[in-house]
Amino acid sequence: MKTIEWGYLIVNYLFLGGLSAGLFFVSALATFLYKIEEPSPYTRIARLGALLAPWPVMIGCGLLVFDLGHWYRFYKLFLHLRLVSPMSIGTWLLVFFNVIALVNCYAWLTAAQRTELFARIPQRLAFLRRFNYDIDHWRRHLALAGLPISVGVGIYTGVLLGAVQSRPFWNTNLVAQLFLFSALSTGCAALILGLARREQSAPELKLLYGLDICFMVLEFFIVLPYLIHGELSVQAVQDSLKLILGGPFTVLFWVFFLGLGLVTPLVIEITELVPVMLSNREFHYRRPIAAGTALLILFGGFLLRYIFVFAGQMSAMQ
């Protein structure tokens, strides 16, 4: 009995998981680049990324749990570690990632924010206030520890699908890479969105544009071989690609994901950044364009998950 088992909950989870991974990754990068003493553009990127990183993935995990047969059985996932099961690995990855992301988030709080946070703790739980430590100096270590895990989470969402032999649409390592770079670019996008609020984020955005362009170019050059390789692969894979080459997902894939979600923002960012770099003029950005671009990227990232989750389940060996 052929059925679509994984739906919007999973789509959203894959998207949010990737988003967090991206946020953490970029923030970690920034953390290495800035110097403790002088305030620099990187600080704000690192801080914003660190503060945002934990939440999407935690919501995603919530969705994941509610997608289970009985949500309260989720704990059984933690009674086993099965290295052959992507989902089992993923579960543990997510645990570590969540912990580090949270701690890292805390580490990036300013003293003022910390005091305010602990002030909120009700009297009954006063003892918690003892934990009001300053762990700013952990930031680099946390970034170092978290970086591989965030990459892992980013890749894992793709591996989860790619590891299924019986769904030709998924069953290629390219899916993992694709999801990773899509994740990273959505992370960037989220930060661009966050920083574009302020007038004077030019240096940050310059950096983020740069990163984002790299990610999206890579993403683009994974989509391409994915299609070419698929067409050169066995019949089952070719058939499965028909889903986006004339099948129900064609428009969604070409127009909305590839067109609006990837190429358009890529082009915009290049036209915004490249001239500046060539003639080292001062970088100016237009907030609406920056925000719009970011939104397109997020939209594209979501669509990518949507298309792969549904089309993948429809594909089958003949």
């Binding site: 047969g69 099961s85 389940q313």
Partner: protein, 183 residues
Amino acid sequence: MAAKNKRYALVIDSKKCINCKACVVACRAEYNVPLTYSRPWINEETRGVWPKLMAAFQPEQCHHCAHPACVRVCPTGASYQRPDGIVVVNESDCVGCRYCMIACPYDARFFREDKGVVEKCDFCVKRLARGQLPACVETCPSKVRVFGDLNDPKSKMADLISGREYRLKKPEAGTGPQIYYLM
């Protein structure tokens, strides 16, 4: 019960299948499966233009693969393979993530909303323990299904597999299916 060096499998002689559905109902009775699902099912195919017609019926169920994808992807080990090759689901460990259903090349698994777990053919392990044949095998009027131990050279199954041509379904999925369809 799962004795060593046993390897249970199923031979299906589709030519004899008359699509009578006895297997489907027998299984429903044995496991009280809700009407919306079925562990075994029969693929029907009719072709041709009057009066040149053909019809073929092919029973199918879990293939109890040698390298079951469902077992590999299961995050909790609820899906596991017994030493005798039978792939079973331990309901108490199943969290209902349905990853196994997506991984199964044969769509032989289904999700029971009422129980919140995934279910499938288990070759009637309870009946085997009692020395009975699986319900579908026992009840079949035209004896399409032959159940047995691949490692037993004296079994009827051995005769059929060594004596007749057979094919496996979707071997390219790499799961090593163990239902042998006689040609």
